[in-house]
């Protein structure tokens, strides 16, 4: 009674912007441009959020710098009607799914109203307790399966998240019930100050899937084509009844953990520098340049459009009236309890 298996991996687009044509997903030029534009937009949003935080205009913020390919490449593989369960670093996922940017800023400024996904988008609020969103995705996929819907659930978490009991309980259940769910682990090499090798002695994180009876694959997380392709295949498999997949996006957190963190305390500048040439935008740009899809002027245009969109979002976020204190009671339960009703009068 023995079993043996190999850990799969995928990379398509290298640092020089060269794509392995045999593996390249079929993407029309317009889609490639859309990907690039989402990457620029997300990075623009991220930079703006960081400076808003510095200026005290929003609270603590977790930058996704360097993880754009992992987030956008994967999110693009889903339908709007699929169910997405992000962690707290997935602003590019929200943006890709069409979540209004001003609401993201509203959320990070400490206003729950920003976390109410617009109708038609089944995307959960930012989830702070690490790994706890994993069973939710599993439950949603159980529900979709039971209802006979074609919806797929998708869950994002980090390398740190793989250490949590909820990761284990969730993935194990997904395997047992062969559920339509895709697990996306953004292995950005760090969980605050704890490096990947101290998080788990497992050779790869993707191979953990085999403990649950389904496939795992490690993809170059800075290679948007690889991420997109692996996720699309996982989504197709899930939708077709083939069960879950664990995708490890091997990437890097270029920024501090959050604006409350100082990563120079625990990691070397050389390490950070060594990841710069692997930048996911850079290599997509080089690829597009070769294909004649990119030039300086296009870049300028994309940047300007992004800046305008982000500025609009900021203006909108900052023009909102503050939440009403009574809101904290309005949404605790469908109908306030007698005690809550009494407390509400305090305002």
């Amino acid at each position: 009674m023995t079993a043996s298996f190999e850990v799969k991996s995928l990379s398509i687009l290298n640092e020089k912007g060269e794509a392995d044509e045999t593996l390249m997903p079929s993407l029309p030029d317009d889609d490639i441009k859309r990907i690039f534009e989402l990457m620029v937009l997300s990075r623009t949003f991220d930079e703006a959020a960081l400076s808003l935080q510095r200026e005290g205009r929003i609270g603590t913020y977790a930058s996704m710098l360097g993880q754009e390919a992992s987030q956008i490449g994967s999110a693009l593989a889903f339908e709007k009607s699929d169910w997405i369960f992000p962690s707290f670093r997935e602003m590019a996922v929200y943006i890709t799914m069409g979540y209004p940017m001003y609401m993201l800023l509203q959320y990070w400024s400490g206003d729950e109203r920003g976390a109410r996904a617009p109708a038609g988008l089944n995307i959960f609020p930012v989830c702070v307790p690490v790994g706890t969103q994993i069973p939710h995705a599993v439950g949603a996929s159980m529900a979709a399966k039971y209802k006979g819907d074609k919806a797929v659930a998708c869950c994002y978490f980090g390398d740190g998240g793989t250490s949590k009991g909820d990761f284990h309980e969730g993935l194990n259940m997904a395997g047992v019930f062969k559920l339509p769910v895709v697990f996306i682990c953004q292995n950005n090499q760090w969980a605050i100050s704890v490096p990947r090798r101290r998080q788990s002695a497992s050779k790869t994180l993707s191979q953990k899937a085999y403990s649950y009876g389904f496939e795992g694959i490690q993809v170059d997380g800075n290679d948007v084509f690889a991420v997109y392709k692996a996720t699309s295949e996982a989504v197709r498999k899930a939708r077709g009844g083939g069960g879950p997949t664990l995708i490890e996006c091997f990437t890097y957190r270029m920024s501090d953990h959050t604006t409350a963190d100082d990563s120079s305390k625990y990691r070397s500048n050389e390490e950070v520098e060594s990841w710069k040439p692997k930048d996911p935008l850079l290599r997509l740009k080089l690829f597009m340049e070769k294909k004649g899809l990119w030039n300086e002027q296009y870049q300028k245009g994309v940047e300007e459009k992004s800046k305008t969109a982000v500025e609009q979002a900021i203006r909108k976020a900052e023009s909102l009236s503050p939440p009403e204190p009574a809101d904290m009671f309005r949404y605790a339960l469908k109908s306030p309890t007698p005690r809550q009703a009494k407390e509400m009068e305090d305002f």
Binding site: A140, Y146, G170, M173
Partner: protein, 320 residues
């Protein structure tokens, strides 16, 4: 009408609601072929199939977390945690998520979830089979805590809990499961959440109890002109019912099997001391499990409040 014990009444509530609403599904450990370790889900697998009566792997946090996802998606899961002593790994999912998703998403996602679990001493089982930590859950905002005291209200309360748009922790006293039979209507009926009931009227002292302690309170009340209140729902608290009684009697004895310190009795007592103090004639007494780790069966009977201990507290109150 049928003469049912509490297990049968709960089974009947589940069956009614599953028949009525295809979104109601049951998940947990051994809820399928085994019918639950107390047989509360017996026959459901046969009637509704494995897609609606799901045996899960042994993973309480996973069960609660998956139920949150199911509920947000639109189902009405009724999850069984095998004993209250095994709910602790699920506290994170209950507290951080089930209780908060409505608030976190400003009403976009909700959690119409019921978590049923046997609680309390009474079956002389090993450690963690006699837990009564309802107060922990009563402190959590965004959930409700319901504790039936017999077959009739178990059925009506469970139906209400399943229909409730918010998460409900539903605690079933193991000592009551098979020890009492009552007439239980066959169809569906609701007993509203958030309402206590007067079990016995009286004018000199108010006894407050719930679940497995109610019958002991009633027993102890014999010979006194005591009003006995069955909370049925712990949160939201039916404060009005309590104050009304206290205003009449001026004396209060609260009974629960959890340790005294920070038990739910503390909240009742504090609420009375805050909102009905001027009507009191005597100190408010609590007769509770002791402030120590629940012992194994050999000492269990010393630990759990006896009718005699309750009686002594009533007598004490009557001295004022």
């Amino acid at each position: 009408m049928a003469n049912l014990n509490m297990v049968q009444a709960i089974n009947s509530a589940l069956r009614e609601e599953m028949r009525r609403d295809g979104d109601v599904i049951v998940i947990g450990e051994d809820v399928g072929a085994d019918g639950g370790v107390f047989r509360a889900t017996e026959g459901l697998l046969h009637e509704f199939g494995a897609e609606r009566v799901m045996d899960t792997p042994l993973a309480e946090s996973g069960i609660a977390g998956a139920a949150v996802g199911m509920a947000a998606y639109g189902l009405k899961p009724v999850a069984e945690i095998q004993f209250m002593g095994f709910i602790y790994p699920a506290v994170d999912q209950i507290f951080s998520h089930a209780a908060r998703i409505r608030s976190r998403s400003r009403g976009r996602f909700t959690c119409p979830l019921v978590i049923r679990t046997p609680y309390g001493a009474g079956i002389k089982a090993p450690e963690l089979h006699s837990e009564s930590t309802e107060a922990m859950f009563c402190h959590m905002q965004g959930i409700k805590v319901v504790v039936p005291s017999g077959p009739y209200n178990a059925k009506g309360l469970l139906i209400s809990a399943i229909r409730d748009p918010d998460p409900v922790i539903f605690l079933e006293s193991t000592r009551l499961y098979r020890s009492v039979k009552e007439e239980v209507p066959e169809g569906e009926y609701e007993i509203p959440l958030g309402q206590a009931r007067i079990v016995r009227e009286g004018t000199e002292v108010t006894l407050i109890a719930w679940g497995g302690m109610l019958r002991k309170a009633i027993e102890a009340s014999e010979g006194f002109d005591a009003e006995v209140i069955d909370m049925m729902t712990l949160t939201p608290i039916d404060e009005e019912a309590i104050y009304r009684s206290v205003k009449k009697t001026g004396r209060v004895v609260i009974v629960h099997e959890a340790p005294k310190t920070c038990g739910f009795g503390a909240e009742l007592s504090a609420s009375i001391a805050e909102y009905a103090m001027l009507h009191l004639k005597s100190p408010i007494f609590r007769v509770t499990g002791y402030d120590t780790v629940m012992p194994l069966p050999k000492l269990e009977d010393y630990y759990v409040p006896s009718a005699d201990r309750i009686r002594r507290a009533i007598e004490e109150a009557m001295k004022y």
